[in-house]
């Protein structure tokens, strides 16, 4: 039984990583109705900036704050430069552009910092504690607590503030939001900026475990997408729940389903996502959209 719990905990540990990326994806989707495939790579870039600042001698917290502010600027600039001119274009065009962002940021990281792995300091004290036979790492708990705090904050802002309402309106219908006095462009810009900040946070939280390298987030992208889908694309807490479910399912499936084993472990989250979506097509925490004909 302790094996089971240890597997669950290890699943939660990887699940926290997926949840972090899913959170950024969900925010940008909610704020602009775009799935940014380049989100993970933009986040990796921010983590590199933090690392570079520390290499130059800045203390961790200063480096963190500066690079989070930088990420906000990068998010806003990316939106202004490449997404805004295409706001009226077909959705396919935007998909290709975000894939272009993916390639661009990864290549930039590769060019500036090279492909080798670098260690990244953890925000949390080393070590962990035991519950029964199960070992839990401080960084897992810390990561999860920070993520949940971000998600709750996001949820509150979206639900209870004027800013959040405007952002939701801007994402839902550009033309009609302008008519009721929402500054749509500013809202979309803010959405991209905030999403970049949360993505950067995610990358910084998970860089200690994955080691910093330009392709750090690439293998996680699919899991992040699955987690966001599982949770329903419009709920921040859903994204976290989705990430954790995917992580735990992967960990348990790889160990207990012998025909799957370690090399087919990716099949578990896919099957689970499919199963849940077949029952509830909008995801666990998603809400149905009503369209009038």
């Amino acid at each position: 039984m302790s094996l089971f719990f240890q597997l669950v905990v290890s699943g939660l540990t990887t699940g926290a990583i997926y949840a972090a990326l899913a959170l950024a994806l969900v925010l940008i989707f909610r704020a602009t109705n775009v799935v940014n495939f380049g989100q993970g790579e933009m986040a990796t870039f921010s983590a590199y900036c933090t690392w570079q600042l520390m290499e130059w001698g800045a203390p961790l917290w200063v480096a963190l704050l500066v690079s989070l502010a930088g990420s906000f600027a990068v998010g806003v600039i990316t939106f202004r430069a490449v997404i805004r001119p295409l706001m009226s274009a077909p959705v396919e065009a935007i998909v290709v552009v975000t894939l272009g962002i993916f390639v661009l940021f990864q290549a930039a990281g590769m060019w500036l910092w090279g492909a080798e792995q670098r260690s990244f300091p953890s925000l949390f004290p080393d070590g962990g504690f035991n519950v029964g036979d199960v070992r839990i790492l401080n960084s897992t708990v810390g990561t999860l607590v920070i993520l949940v705090m971000i998600a709750v904050l996001m949820g509150l802002i979206f639900s209870f503030t004027r800013l959040g309402l405007s952002m939701r309106a801007a994402a839902f219908d550009h033309a009609r939001s302008v008519l009721v006095g929402v500054n749509v462009e500013r809202m979309l810009m803010l959405g991209w900026g905030f999403a970049a900040v949360i993505g950067a946070f995610a990358a910084i939280l998970i860089a200690p475990r994955l080691f910093l390298n330009p392709t750090m987030m690439t293998p996680i992208l699919f899991y992040g997408l699955a987690a966001a889908t599982l949770g329903g694309w419009d709920s921040p807490l859903g994204a976290i729940a989705g990430g954790l479910i995917v992580g735990v399912a992967e960990s348990l499936g790889a160990s207990y389903l012998s025909f799957i084993g370690a090399d087919m472990r990716i099949a578990v989250p896919i099957a689970l996502t499919l199963l849940i979506l077949l029952v509830k097509p909008v995801g666990l925490f998603g809400s149905y959209k009503v369209t009038k004909l």
Partner: protein, 332 residues
């Protein structure tokens, strides 16, 4: 002759001329690259049918492409069937697989469907490794080299080109026929508005599954051609990124165009290579910028851009004649 059909004729003429001229101008290696681009183009045509006309997103086209390639390779190396004779079988087998892949589309749409199908693409290489007994695992499978029959006096590269171009031609013909018929109309109707289409008697289940089967058959055909051209396949050729690249090729070329599929295939093969030829360490940076810039200039894909440009020119000449006519009428 109407504007549309004239520009279509011009386009087709240019395209046919390019298809004939290419092998005369290119050296052997580049010609093989073009053949690979054509193989991708066949898969893209399938995706255009499904995504451009059917409105169904499938990010597993690369995996289906792989299924086709493996069916060809297995039939050839295990059963000794002539490579070209395997192509109809790989198309059929892939269509059946595609029907299964398409099942979630009956309940899921848009983003959700994209993610689920992308999952299939991500798991596919692992599955190939897992089934090493049939697929040869990491070491892959060889396919017999194709030799031109004795009555056709051409080099092997040129023969490959002819074969792949013929397959692409058949694919293009089938897609065009399908789109001009009732199936095509039903497909477009359910894309534009599923509820209204259903109310008008379009069977959504049947139409969507047909679209998936047709699209997958083309992916399988493309995969089979790819296997014949390269003469060797391994799971490395069918990673998840291939599915993404096929989608990129489809969108860059123009999702509702057959010619666009060829442009997309050429884009997939040549642009990354050119980008790293310009500067090896900045190759991907240039490629990423190219993707973004192309979409900013040509938001409906390259064919959409060319079409708009062509029709502006044609309209300008037509306007001139029309205005002359009008002034005459005013005078009388």
């Amino acid at each position: 002759m109407s504007d549309g059909s004239r520009s279509r004729l011009v386009k087709f003429g240019l395209f046919a001329a390019a298809a004939v001229l290419l092998p005369l101008l290119l050296p052997g290696y580049a010609l093989q690259q073009v053949c690979i681009a054509i193989a991708y183009a066949i898969a893209i045509m399938g995706l255009n049918l499904l995504m451009g006309f059917g409105g169904q997103i499938c990010l597993a086209q690369g995996a289906l492409f792989g299924v086709g390639a493996y069916v060809t390779a297995i039939l050839n190396s295990d059963y000794g069937i002539h490579p070209i004779a395997t192509l109809p079988m790989s198309a059929t087998a892939t269509a059946l697989v595609g029907l299964v892949v398409g099942l979630p589309a009956l309940r899921l749409q848009g983003l959700q469907l994209a993610i689920v199908t992308f999952g299939i693409a991500a798991a596919f290489p692992q599955l190939l490794l897992k089934m090493g007994g049939i697929t040869g695992g990491v070491s892959g499978l060889p396919i017999d080299g194709l030799e031109a029959p004795t009555w056709v006096p051409v080099s092997p590269e040129l023969w490959l080109y002819v074969v792949s171009q013929c397959c692409a031609g058949i694919a293009a013909l089938l897609v065009t026929l399908m789109l001009f018929g009732d199936v095509g109309r039903a497909l477009r109707a359910q894309r534009d508005n599923a509820q209204i289409a259903e109310a008008l008697g379009v069977n959504l289940t049947k139409t969507r599954l047909w679209a998936f089967a047709g699209s997958s058959a083309l992916a399988g055909l493309g995969g089979g051609v790819f296997a014949i051209i390269t003469g060797f396949i391994s799971p490395e050729s069918f990673l998840a990124i291939l599915s993404i690249n096929i989608v990129i090729g489809s969108i860059v070329g123009g999702v509702t165009s057959v010619v666009g599929a060829f442009l997309g295939g050429l884009f997939m093969v040549f642009v990354p290579t050119w980008a790293s030829d310009i500067n090896l360490s900045l190759g991907n940076l240039i490629y990423g910028l190219a993707l973004i810039l192309i979409m900013m200039v040509a938001r409906n894909g390259v064919t959409g851009f060319i079409e708009k440009w062509l029709s502006t020119i044609l309209r300008r000449t037509a306007d001139n004649t029309a205005s002359v006519k009008e002034t005459r009428e005013e005078l009388t």
